[in-house]
């Protein structure tokens, strides 16, 4: 061992210097505020909850959370119904007509019933373009407005989490009409509620029934099995277990997939009912497989529609589901590599509380792992987290959702834009690559300029410098507090005044949460 070192450091003085340097480093680490085991300061704790329970601080948030105390902030966020929505935000959401329509109205007004087959080709194409042109920007706007401005931040974070967990793809024909309603009525109301209720709302929603094809599925040989409803479709049944509940190694077999598909045969979308203005979900008894079934090793009593509800009960309360959901929550809120002890603790809470999401999150936020310095400012933001946190930090209002989704698309994370049912990943490995990092930096510069098209209504002329001044770097540093380390802040303050805001939002410190 010693010989090579002697070759590298032939003189005694070199050894001495090395020893001195090592000593100094060791002391600095032990005494400094960034010691790996030092507890977070109150300001760091405030930043931590704003980064994890929210999409980062807006101006004044850090001070407010410090004032009210982190514990009270968490408690408040776990009860969004106690936090009033600002009038302005409510008014802007109410001004999105596509968000006020029922799934049936959306289908009739924008879907196939609105396509006139006797019209010219151009008119038919124009009719098909109405949903992507008119509805999609409204749905995107609703999501972005709430993510960036709603004081119920944890509700928004969990809405994103569950919408991604129960991913649907807006590019799959009819799903486009319904993603707004899906999020508004099947996801957000249950985001902090009971998992079984959430699972049920998703299972009945036409966006999911359509996306994973269950609406087409019919029991083999049933009277209603004909035409496009001619056979059993396992798509939803498989993903319901693999991705929504048990997880891929959750202890089910291919036979269970088929059984679950038979259980759910007949859960469909009723096009005629929608044309009459009624709710789209229907249990089509004439397409349901009434044969005897054994699901996950247990016989299931033949009871038509109720079989599906019973299967959802079993899945929602299954230990594998508790473990799978807990793992994903720890990945989202704590670290890319989930601590098994914390996963265990959450899974137990999940089972004991019968899927009470609020209780599971409370356990997570009370855990030492959540507060460990080794998990502070360590998660690489997803593109969505990066964009929304930059809008919040700079207090940039979203007046045009299209350039936001355009940027998200360039990063590979467009809203409702992941084709396949497993949704987006949250890890650094999934999102950190050289091209994307430079793109973040360029976007930071654009947002800092004050001239971003995001902040003006589509078609409005570019504002002058006085109308839209560049972001104020000093204010940004105040807003972000300890998110920008003193070393980084010093480097930034050495740059030209008009570059500082871009440097803050483009800094490695701001890429993390």
């Amino acid at each position: 061992m010693q010989a090579p070192f002697k070759q590298l450091f032939p003189s005694r003085s070199a050894w001495l210097m090395l020893a001195l340097v090592a000593c100094t480093l060791g002391q600095a680490q032990a005494a400094g505020p960034t010691s790996a085991s030092a507890p977070l300061s109150e300001q760091e704790r405030a930043l931590h909850v704003l980064n994890r329970l929210a999409y980062g601080p807006r101006p004044g948030d850090l001070e407010q959370v410090e004032r009210m105390g982190v514990k009270r902030y968490i408690d408040q966020q776990l009860h969004p119904e106690r936090i009033p929505l600002p009038d302005d935000l409510q008014a802007r959401l109410a001004a999105l007509p596509g968000l006020q329509m029922t799934p049936a109205q959306l289908f009739v007004d924008y879907g196939p019933p609105s396509f006139d087959r006797s019209a010219s080709k151009e008119e038919q194409q124009a009719a098909r373009q109405r949903a992507p042109r008119e509805l999609t920007p409204q749905f995107h706007m609703a999501r972005l407005l709430q993510a960036s401005e709603s004081p119920r931040q944890l509700e928004e974070v969990m809405t994103e989490f569950w919408a991604n967990h129960f991913n649907v793809f807006e590019g799959k024909e009819w799903v486009r009409y319904w993603v707004g309603d899906y999020e508004k009525n099947a996801i957000r109301p249950y985001a902090l509620g009971n998992f079984r209720d959430l699972l049920g709302a998703v299972a009945h929603h036409p966006a999911m029934l359509y996306y994973l094809d269950n609406w087409l599925s019919s029991g083999a040989g049933t009277p209603g099995a004909r035409g496009r409803f001619k056979g059993l479709n396992e798509n939803y049944a498989r993903e319901l277990m693999e991705l929504h509940t048990l997880g891929v190694n959750g202890g089910y077999q291919q036979a269970d997939v088929i059984t679950l598909a038979r259980i759910l045969s007949g859960w469909t979308i009723d096009v005629d009912a929608m044309k009459a203005g009624a709710s789209p979900f229907r249990f089509a008894a004439q397409r349901h497989d009434n044969g005897p079934k054994i699901f996950l090793g247990k016989p299931l009593q033949a009871s038509g529609y109720q079989e599906g509800e019973a299967a959802l009960d079993i899945l929602a309360n299954h230990p594998s589901t508790a473990r799978f959901i807990s793992t994903q929550l720890v990945e989202y809120f704590v670290a890319d590599q989930p601590d098994p002890a914390l996963v265990n603790k959450l899974a137990q809470k999940f089972l004991a509380s019968h899927g009470d999401i609020r209780a599971v999150l409370q356990t997570l936020f009370d855990s030492p792992q959540f507060w460990a310095r080794s998990n502070y400012q360590t998660q690489f933001k997803t593109p969505y987290q990066f964009v929304v946190s930059a809008l919040r930090a700079g207090d940039i209002p979203v007046r045009n959702a299209k350039p936001v989704n355009g940027e998200l698309g360039q990063f590979g994370m467009p809203l409702y834009g992941w084709l396949t049912p497993e949704g987006y990943k949250y890890s650094q490995a999934a999102w950190l690559n050289p091209g994307a990092l430079l793109r973040r930096i360029n976007l930071a510069g654009n947002l800092a300029s004050g001239k971003s098209p995001i902040a003006r209504v589509e078609g409005a002329p570019a504002p002058s410098n006085t109308e839209a001044p560049p972001l104020d770097a000093a204010a940004l540093l105040r807003t972000l507090g300890p998110a920008i380390t003193p070393a980084t802040a010093a480097q930034i303050n050495a740059a030209l005044e008009n570059q500082r805001a871009g440097l803050i939002l483009g800094s490695p410190d701001f890429m993390k949460r």
Partner: protein, 439 residues
């Protein structure tokens, strides 16, 4: 046998199942050397696949390159490589069939049975010189008719499996010689497509005039202040420096070339050709760039697709010019390059009620390259009669697209058998059954 006899033979065979009896095993079945005959000595069948004059291997700089061109939206392969020798083709497509060779806007004859869409005229010189080939009735074995899903499968290289996150072209980079350059792979466009997603670095070359416009971080006044922020040894610092190195090299090369162009007084070509000219020049001058990808959209011709003229012709024409421009600008590096053109699936055999075609199955893959054994149609032609069609409505698939990509990866990019299993997992076929596509 004279030409008339030959055509009659083909007509009879065309209404049967298999036009040309070529019995090789595996998923890719092709004419072998002893079955290939010269143009002057027609024997039934074999000629349908083409029989180029032999030629010698042409030297390049020895660094193999591959360009993948993806036609998003499912191009109508039966109107690209037209089976004009089969009357069933004309029966199925009364208004959109490409006319027989010699007729107005007719196909450009390739083999006596197959012809090229007339809008692809700019590619004919490459066919004549044996540098253009097609693999007909090829595609993805997965039956999806969803554009998004089928594209996804073709880009991940794992049909039927949703969970694959990286693209096969990114996985190819794992097995190239160690990167001496941050510019090993180039994507033409701004968003990294699935095919190039993964842990290896691909640089984006903006399209059109944006390519030469520096982004904020390209400007020294900004890079000077960002460089020290990203000076650390962590993953972010490393990613930043990799990205900056790639950007600097790319911008320097583009600008020096655009400058040269301006000096020569040459106008910038428009549209696709502007991008392919730029890409070709970049790859010609920098042998470290091994892979490139570009996507071209607008092929989803459900309504009014036209025949020898019209909508599809209007799309094929700039594509052909763009590909010919790419080949020309590659210069001597064309001898080291293979260009593969693919699309997520083909279109229905019969035309629909709107003078268009719907989502189908089998398609043709296009191959171009200086040392390609071209002037041939590869693959096994399944025929067009009702029983030969996939689900009674589309051209069947007799060659898995991965067999072609394996052959290109192995024999052109010099990637080992074991590596192919990593690039195309769950595909046991490898390049077995594929003929030697190169001279």
């Amino acid at each position: 046998m004279n030409r008339r006899h030959f055509l009659r033979y083909l007509g009879a065979a065309g209404s049967g199942a298999i036009l040309v009896p070529i019995g090789l095993s595996g998923c890719a079945v092709v004419p072998t050397g002893d079955q290939t005959i010269s143009r002057s000595n027609h024997t039934p069948g074999k000629v349908a696949y083409g029989s180029p004059a032999p030629r010698a291997h042409a030297q390049g700089d020895g660094a193999p390159r591959m360009v993948v061109v993806f036609l998003r939206g499912a191009v109508d392969g039966l109107n690209v490589v037209v089976p004009h020798g089969d009357p069933l083709y004309y029966q199925a497509r009364p208004t959109i069939a490409v006319a027989r060779p010699g007729q107005a806007n007719g196909a450009l004859d390739l083999t006596g049975y197959f012809g090229l869409h007339p809008a692809l005229q700019p590619l004919m010189p490459y066919w004549e010189s044996g540098q253009l080939a097609f693999v007909h009735a090829s595609g993805s074995p997965d039956g999806s008719r969803s554009h998004f899903e089928a594209q996804d499968y073709m880009e991940t290289g794992t049909p039927g499996q949703h969970s694959t996150r990286d693209g096969w072209l990114n996985r190819v980079m794992d097995y190239l010689p160690p990167a001496e350059s941050p510019l090993q792979a180039i994507n033409v466009g701004s968003a990294t497509p699935r095919i190039l997603s993964g842990h290896n670095v691909a640089a984006n070359l903006q399209t059109g005039r944006d390519a030469t416009r520096p982004s904020m971080i390209d400007q020294p006044r900004w890079s000077q202040v960002f460089d020290p922020l990203y000076g650390g040894d962590d993953a972010l610092g490393k990613a930043y420096r990799d990205g900056m190195a790639a950007r600097k090299q790319l911008m320097a090369e583009i600008n020096s070339q655009e400058q040269q162009m301006a000096n020569n007084g040459a106008p910038l070509p428009n549209g696709l050709s502007m991008d392919t000219a730029r890409l070709g020049r970049l790859m010609r001058h920098d042998p470290r760039i091994r892979l490139a990808f570009l996507a071209v959209g607008g092929w989803d011709t459900h309504i009014g697709q036209g025949n020898g003229t019209g909508q599809l012709a209007g799309r094929l024409s700039p594509l052909a010019t763009g590909l010919a421009t790419l080949a020309r600008e590659l210069g001597p590096a064309f001898n080291d390059t293979v260009i593969v053109v693919m699309s997520e699936f083909g279109r229905t055999f019969k035309e629909n009620g709107n003078g268009g075609t719907d989502h189908g199955h089998g398609n043709a893959m296009w191959l171009m390259g200086g040392n390609l054994r071209g002037g041939k149609i590869y693959g096994q032609w399944p025929g067009l009669n009702q029983t030969a069609l996939n689900e009674g409505r589309d051209l069947a698939i007799t060659t898995d697209f991965r067999a072609v990509l394996c052959a290109l990866s192995e024999r052109h990019m010099r990637i080992s058998d074991q590596a192919l299993e990593k690039i195309f997992p769950q595909y046991a076929g490898g390049s077995k059954g594929m003929p030697d596509l190169f001279i």
